[in-house]
């Protein structure tokens, strides 16, 4: 059997049921009744002790959503979602208010352990003080729709950084939330974003005041833990003038039979000279070896470079989900602002990925850079869909796009769908795209040196995505590298 054929066979055999993170924590939860109506929205808002304006905002979104239809332009296929057959809210019952680690449900802590969330986060949770100068990570743990623990609050507070669950921010910083929520992704934006606006459960809120460089990486781990519960995460990050923040998001989900809907919204705003770096490692349950189950991930992520010389950089490593529908985008509004999109999208089994970015050049001398690496294996379909547009007034707009696809086997597909719109003649857009098959000669070279077929594939793929991996913060890069090998090998652990 030729090497590639052998690899293909092996990849085909991968039992995605072995999904490493497939387990559930039994935690009593209180759920909203199944289905979606104004009452559901009211229930959620009441659960969160929200002010009236927030409820009104949600209801408006809900009414809007009723008039909309689910989009069908993406290269993804799935059975019709019955929105009345889902739960829209569930929360672990808090035993009491959580002030310290001891008070956190030990089951939840165990879950983190199983997820292999490294000790450093546990240390963080335990408040272990690291030597001066060492990089720290603050974890705002979102566990099944409700934030359970928030750490490093003090240090962040000293710097003036606000980092808290958005549900708290709505109560504690209503003026900020009102000012920014829905200004990047309006409630009317698209079917899934509108749905999210109506029923979002929780997420993170970050505000970095003028001139402040956030003293640590901010990270959040999300999980879905209730059967039939849609996860509607909402994140809002604001970097005020001259500030900087790096935010990391990673998630895994337990195994289940029914499809799970996940429709998150992330909004980023940068003012003059500010920068946000947003990194994601996405590893939702991809479905079993027959393509059954798995998360439907319909995400709206958008950043608004509102100020001059501001910058937003998205880096994503997408390995999970049955369906991924996700286009982290940048609106380059401020003059001289810049946007970046670095992406690794891996699909295996029956996964379907339709992902890419939009770079909307509105300001003068704005620039953007897109580096996309798609890897398709098994019977998966992997589509890059990207839009680069320059407004009439966006003189001197520049974009560089490089889309590379790597195919493993002959039953998968990689597709590149670039849209380009230049409404002024001074825009310079460059686009490069390649599609290649994993080379039999390269694999043989590796195995002749002693590496197994799986190790060889992992090595070659990690080499292929190196440019993007380098964009991730160190600790994430290591995790991501492991994840990439796991998702292609099917080896457990």
């Amino acid at each position: 059997m030729p090497a590639v054929q052998e690899t293909v066979e092996r990849v085909r055999r991968i039992d995605v049921d072995q999904y490493r993170y497939g387990f559930e924590t039994l935690i009593e939860s209180d759920k909203a009744p199944k289905g979606l109506s104004e009452d559901t929205v009211r229930f959620i808002s009441a659960k969160k002790n929200e002010p009236a304006w927030m409820l009104e905002w949600r209801l408006e979104a809900f009414r809007r959503w009723l008039t909309m239809t689910e989009p069908s332009w993406a290269r993804v296929h799935y059975p019709k979602i019955d929105y009345q057959d889902l739960y829209y809210y569930s929360a672990p019952k808090p035993k009491k208010t959580v002030n310290s680690l001891d008070e956190i449900d030990p089951d939840i802590l165990k879950t983190y352990e199983k997820l292999g969330i490294p000790l450093r986060e546990v240390e963080v949770l335990e408040g272990v003080v690291r030597p001066e100068g060492e990089r720290r990570i603050a974890v705002d743990a979102v566990f099944d729709s409700v934030s359970v623990a928030t750490t490093f609050q003090k240090e962040l507070k000293a710097a003036g950084v606000i980092f808290m669950p958005i549900s708290e921010a709505i109560r504690e910083h209503p003026e900020l939330v009102k000012k920014y929520l829905g200004t990047v992704v309006p409630t009317t934006d698209n079917y899934f974003a509108t749905l999210n606006s109506a029923v979002f459960s929780d997420g993170s809120f970050v505000y970095v005041p003028p001139g402040v460089r956030c003293p640590m990486e901010l990270s959040t781990y999300f999980r879905i833990n209730e059967r039939n519960t849609g996860q509607f995460e909402r994140t809002l990050i604001i970097a005020d003038k001259g500030s900087y923040v790096s935010y990391l998001e990673g998630c895994t989900a337990p195994q289940r039979d029914e499809n799970q809907l996940h429709a998150a919204v992330v909004e980023l705003v940068t003012h003059d000279d500010a920068e946000i770096k947003y990194s994601t490692v996405q590893n939702w349950y991809p479905g079993n070896s027959e393509g059954k189950g798995g998360i439907y991930n319909f995400v709206t992520k958008r950043g608004d470079c509102r100020g001059r010389n501001s910058k937003i950089s998205w880096t994503q490593v997408e390995t999970g989900s049955a369906i991924t529908w996700k286009y982290p985008s940048c609106i380059l509004r401020g003059d001289n602002s810049s946007g970046e999109f670095y992406s690794i999208a891996i699909s295996n089994g029956y996964q379907q990925v339709d992902s890419g970015t939009k770079m909307i050049h509105l300001g003068k001398n704005t620039s953007s850079r897109i580096i996309s690496k798609g890897i398709a294996a098994g019977k998966s379909q992997n589509t890059y869909r990207g839009l680069v547009s320059a407004h009439r007034k966006a003189t001197g707009a520049r974009n560089y796009t490089a889309c590379d696809s790597l195919l493993i086997g002959d039953q998968c597909g990689a597709h590149t769908v670039p849209y380009v719109e230049a409404k002024n003649s001074s825009a310079t857009f460059e686009h490069e795209a390649t599609t290649s098959k994993i080379s039999e000669d390269v694999l043989f070279y590796c195995v002749q040196r002693g590496l197994s077929q799986e190790e060889a594939v992992g090595l070659v793929v990690n080499g292929f995505v190196k440019d993007v991996l380098q964009q991730l913060p160190m600790e994430f890069a290591v995790e991501a590298q492991k994840l990439i090998s796991i998702s292609l090998e099917g080896s457990v652990g």
Partner: protein
């Protein structure tokens, strides 16, 4: 060889024994019953015209997919080599220096070498080598072969000149310390100085336990790496074997005289 000689021979286990090997590629037979016996400590040279099957033989020994063995045997230390996975052969000590080494973008040379070495060690039940120990070792080996350090930091063979790629093959051979080294045209693309350095590297690895099979078109290489046995291959068979003087003879008269024999 006398009958007695053959019997005596049998008692010393040969390192590599190719017996009546028949190989097809895409329905076409390339090797038509090739035999070759290599004993520990020996250096064999294989010469032969383009397309005679030299690389095919080396690929089959190393386990490259896509070749169909329709007859014969390959034994390594008496074991059926063809039944082993290619990485298993590597761990047991079969090394092939490729005629055309591939490029692996994004994978640094020393990461690759470290991963490969540890994979071999693991397969043999040995401890993995730590990064510092490995770095020390690879640096030493690189230095002995006049390979600049920064080459180790670059992607495997990416942007390497033809000669650098060949030197990188010798580097790996020195690092892995295999039992049988098959060198497929290691001299092609090397300048005179590089050839001497590479040949010195190969000679340094000559030992009573190790054997080498050197595939080449040029007698000149054999001035540096002096073989014990020279084989002439033609049309998928070994048509003549002899001492090192056979190579000189070939240089004089070419392969024409063997074409009919094949």
């Amino acid at each position: 060889m006398t009958r007695l000689g053959m019997m005596l021979r049998k008692n010393v286990m040969s390192l590599l024994e190719v017996k009546d090997l028949q190989v097809r590629v895409e329905e076409r037979e390339i090797l038509h019953g090739l035999s070759l016996t290599v004993n520990p400590g020996e250096v064999h040279a294989i010469m032969g015209p383009n397309g005679s099957g030299k690389s095919t033989l080396s690929h089959v020994i190393a386990g490259k997919p896509g070749y169909e063995v329709t007859g014969g045997q390959v034994l390594f230390k008496g074991e059926d080599l063809l039944a082993m996975a290619p990485n298993e052969r590597a761990a047991k000590g079969v090394f092939l220096a490729f005629q055309y080494p591939v490029e692996i973008p994004g994978v640094t040379t020393w990461n690759f070498l470290h991963a490969a070495l540890n994979a071999q060690r693991k397969a043999r039940g040995e401890d993995e080598m730590s990064s510092p120990a490995f770095l020390k070792k690879v640096r030493e080996v690189a230095k002995s072969l006049s390979i600049p350090q920064d080459m180790l930091k670059r992607g495997v063979n990416v942007g390497f000149s033809g000669g650098e790629k060949k030197r990188n093959e010798i580097l790996q051979m020195a690092l892995f310390e295999p039992a049988v080294c098959i060198l497929d045209e290691m001299d092609s693309g090397l300048d005179i100085d590089a050839l001497r350095i590479a040949a010195d590297g190969v000679n340094a690895l000559r030992s009573p336990e190790r054997a080498m099979v050197v595939i080449t078109h040029y007698q000149r290489l054999l001035n540096y790496i002096v073989p014990d046995v020279v084989h002439v291959m033609s049309k998928g068979r070994v048509v003549k074997s002899g001492g090192k003087e056979l190579a000189l003879e070939l240089e004089e008269s070419g392969y024409a005289q063997f074409e009919d024999a094949a």
